[in-house]
Symmetry: C2
Subunit: 434 residues, 2 copies
């Protein structure tokens, strides 16, 4: 039977985001016969509704901001620069399309079978795929049943709002919505100051939108070290972004009006006042897509909304693996890719595959200022540092390094405030010069 027409596979990967396609390609490279199933385009959240389009916008926005300081860099520009956000959006979409086309071409190159449709497990070795019709109508194309020795679940996640706060796509919006828009609001309230919230805050501010950020917790970018949060917040405020931490408001009482939204909000325990804006961006996290994929037909276990796996991404069902956002963890595309590689090698029967080490995964928030967070330095993980004065002072901190290094590191960032560091460890000094 020709490749592509069989329904028997060594491996079926359910979900073609960064984790899923990485796993599929690697497994195929390791000699397995692989099917990759998705109802949507290959690329997932990262490529279509996440990192990539956001970074394209951030790049344009940072450029717009730099143009305002052109003189400092030695460039004299006559007259006032004008922002054409429709072109921001057009470039964003072109970048996504170019990268998507590239990734798509790897399906054939890796001899992976692409199965379009919505798949769900029917027991651990069978996947029912509800295929779209020729006109694209979901389910109209009938069902295709795939048999698989092993399955990797990689169904990703979706944006999540607050209880009682229903995004409508125009006034109350999610990152999915704004990444489709080609116009700008006059002002925006951003709910949630994690990576998504601060990246959009930074982007919108740079293009002249009045931005207010509301964070429930005491600090913005709450996953980063307190030091980093403080630096980002100071920088935001200096640039003119309004930041409210410990923010409290009644999600059910956000009122949609003709020209935007209105909400009563204040810091915890303090008086609330009226806040109006043309748009409210809800950036309050994501939910894993673990429903309606047939987990109940297997021994797969979940815990607080995510699938339980071991260090090799194996679920409680021996031949079913799970990777990416559905296993929780860091919710990052490159981590999903690494999990996919781990699963693929394990499934290919290698005995010496190292377990996932989440401490070793770098990450970054791409607002201005950026906050990269590097992996635990290799030298430190390999051998214990003798507890000297400086080592002791380091040991009181998180074992992971985190800094606002890239922005203060290079001549790119003359306007970034310097974070205070407690000790001169050469590891941080080294990041300063390349």
């Amino acid at each position: 039977m020709a490749v592509g027409s069989s329904n028997d596979f060594d491996l079926v990967v359910l979900g073609a985001g960064t984790g899923g396609y990485t796993a599929a390609f690697r497994a195929a490279q390791l000699g397995l016969k692989v099917a990759l199933v998705d109802e949507d385009k290959i690329g997932g959240t990262c490529l279509h509704r996440g990192c990539i389009p956001t970074k394209a916008l951030l790049e344009s926005a940072a450029f717009a901001d730099r143009v305002r300081h052109a003189k400092d860099f030695g460039l004299n520009l006559p007259g006032e620069p004008e922002i054409d956000y429709a072109q921001f959006a057009a470039r964003r979409d072109a970048v996504v399309k170019r990268m998507w086309t590239g990734v798509k071409s790897l399906i054939t190159k890796n001899k992976v079978t692409w199965v379009e449709g919505r798949g769900r497990l029917d027991g651990p070795n069978k996947i029912r795929v509800s295929q779209p019709g020729e006109d694209g109508t979901p389910g109209k194309g009938g069902e295709r049943i795939l048999q698989a020795t092993d399955v990797i679940l990689a169904t990703g996640s979706r944006v999540k709002s607050l209880p009682g706060l229903e995004p409508d796509g125009t006034r109350i919006v999610t990152s999915d919505d704004v990444l489709k828009m080609s116009t700008l609001p006059k002002d925006i309230v951003i709910v949630g100051a994690g990576a998504v919230g601060v990246e959009f805050a930074s982007m919108y501010h740079d293009v002249g939108v009045k931005v207010t950020v509301l964070e429930y917790l005491p600090n913005i970018v709450p996953l980063e070290d307190l030091e980093v949060s403080k630096v980002v917040q100071r920088s935001f405020e200096k640039r003119g972004i309004t930041v409210m931490t410990n923010a409290r408001f009644d999600a059910k009482a956000v009122s949609k009006e003709k020209d935007g939204i209105c909400v009563m909000v204040g810091p915890e325990g303090k008086e609330q006042s009226e806040l109006r804006a043309e748009m409210m961006l809800v950036a309050t996290g994501r939910a894993a897509n673990i429903e309606d994929i047939g987990l109940e037909t297997t021994k797969v276990e979940t815990d607080r909304g995510v699938i339980k796996v071991n260090g090799h991404m194996r679920t409680k069902e021996p031949h079913v693996y799970a990777i990416g956002d559905i296993v929780g963890g860091l919710w990052l595309a490159h981590v999903a890719a690494h999990e996919g590689i781990t699963a693929a090698h394990t499934i290919a029967g290698e005995s010496d595959v190292h377990e996932m080490d989440y401490d070793a995964q770098p990450r970054a928030t791409y607002s201005a200022p950026r906050s990269p967070r590097s992996a635990r330095p290799r030298s430190r993980s390999r051998r214990p540092v003798r507890p000297t004065r400086s080592a002791r002072s380091r040991s009181r901190r998180s074992p992971r390094r985190s800094s606002v290094a890239s922005t203060r590191a290079s001549p790119r960032s003359s306007r970034t405030p310097r974070p205070r560091t407690r000790s001169v460890s050469m590891s941080s000094a080294r990041t300063r010069r390349i």
Copy 2:
């Protein structure tokens, strides 16, 4: 005796470049009493005449280039932007000054004794420092003799020209010279297409200087993989930079004329023709500063112009170590820093200091397009990959990864040509998305 007035030290570091000051600070943090000797400002080549000022210029130049494509990014600029190179230079110098001031403040913070002057070994445990007078005249301040249990030599390197081609600082220049200039030539011939040559080629082109690059070898950026060389060369040529590989000319016959230089040049075995330019930048490498530092008073051995050391940076003289450009290797500041840390921990008596692993040192050429070269991927170095089809095809290549990834990686680089890759290894795929 108060800190700073004694002449007895656990460690004297000769040379305060990136390697030297890193070693000194780390050793002090490890509890050693350290003196740091240099006749020049702390920071060395990287900070004052290398990476840092070059990157400041490259940043301005890349910005100037992007401004030409502002419309693509969604920015409408009225009229023609104008380059003010004097401001490029002013910003370059301001960046250097800011970083130098920062590094300088770490001397006191780390309780390192700064000894200004030209030092040389007088036997393995003694350093004679010829100090400048109050007016700065070298040697006028008399001699200070330092006693040291251990010594780290970190005297760095200097620009090197071709035999018979004498830089005069105006028409025939080195990177030292151009990093002091605040004007631009109309056109420039750059001799040598290593990192320095291509970075300046890229920078000068971006600010409107007509650039011709002459490379003796068959490929530009000859230390990189052939694939990378080709991509950079194609990109350069597409942008309008003239690149001649296998270039041959008589270095002694370069004539200095009133308005520039003139040289007969052609590819090997082909006819030569006259090439004129206002300036010739000689970027033909560097020479280690191993002369006149008293090596002959010790058992230190040299080999082809650099000092021989073991994996812990120890020379043949047990208490004399050498780091940075004087030991050859990669001639990179961050590698020198790592060597300095290795030496410092070894001198501090730690028994488990890992040896320098030059395969694990990342590096980058910061021209446009950039060519980063990452360390050998950790997962690959830790466990052998099963020889599958793709692994076999990889094994024919260098074990180190190298790519033009950062430029094709992100939305930043829509105009960068894509390098062809032979196999879809996930390691390269992973660099594509963050």
